[in-house]
Symmetry: C2
Subunit: 163 residues, 2 copies
DNA sequence: CCTGAAAACAGACCCCC
DNA sequence: GGGGGTCTGTTTTCAGG
């Protein structure tokens, strides 16, 4: 379900990703248009779900969340019931920031943010007591080299290179 | 560098994370305060860098970014020069959404968003031609079970459980 | 540090092109 | 579908308790 988006839409999205606190007028100026068209397009893209939540990004370290783990999960259970329980467990835990089901011999990867290693252990113990997991590898982040929510919005020209 | 944040600040941050488009009045109402104090606290937390970028979250699938890979990187090179080159390469590539330096036998993990597997291969070929990498494992995401930017803001009560 | 008012500003919706 | 203006509500500032 790839949306029909033109160059102006992409410019608007880029501007909004960059700084959502900009005024309509400011955005209109940088994308080379005026308030009404920009406003209409934003409204439509919101309705279409292309534009989602408007949020602020907080400094995890400053808030005492000093440890970040990537957790590689292997399971031997592949029934729907088990998966449901596992998914619900992940959804309900706010320290799980990301969870993906994978192709290949590792079944899931999680990204978990906690205050420290002890808090990770509490999370881990709670998780394995809730759902049966075959094998877990935790990768501890020493340094966040890059972390962005800005999606690469390919231009019209770049799209030509795709298949 | 953990910031001095009180309960009211935490409530404000929670409200802002949840929906940054809320009016000051609305936020003041839900946190049980009034406009000026809320505004002052937001300004201070912005200045302190606790509150960072204000942004919108876009739907990657709708924008044609249908493939997500986690890339596990092992290197045999550990000199500063190599690391600088690698970091710069990651920073300059918009498809790299996250990059962490890890503890343990895997040196780095990347999160990469691209239109499809071919685009990932182009990224991979370009990366290994730019910097020497010993071993790469790509984990392909089949399903994004959870993805949130909302940090768990522990309450005053919960903080007591920490060390 | 909070309350309340006042001034500067931006968003939502109009009609016209 | 875009351009420009207007009304309404919101942000930001400031005097006073």
């Amino acid at each position: 379900m790839v949306a029909q988006i033109d160059t102006l839409d992409r410019k608007i999205l880029a501007a909004l990703q960059e700084d959502a606190s900009q005024s309509l007028e400011e955005i209109a100026r940088v994308v080379g248009s005026s308030k009404t068209p920009v406003w209409t397009r934003i409204r439509k893209m919101r309705e279409a779900g292309i534009i989602g939540r408007q949020t602020v990004l907080l400094d995890a370290e400053a808030l005492g969340l000093e440890a970040c783990f990537f957790v590689l999960v292997r399971t031997s259970e592949h029934e729907a019931g088990w998966q449901d329980t596992f998914l619900r467990a992940l959804q309900s835990r706010p320290e799980v920031l990301e969870a993906h089901r994978l192709a290949g011999d590792i079944d899931y990867i999680l990204k978990v943010r906690v205050p420290n290693a002890r808090a990770y252990d509490r999370f881990y113990q709670a998780l394995i007591s809730e759902v049966r997991i075959h094998n877990v590898t935790a990768l501890l982040s020493m340094e966040e080299i890059k972390s962005t929510t800005l999606l690469p919005l390919e231009t019209e020209a770049e799209r030509g290179r795709g298949p």
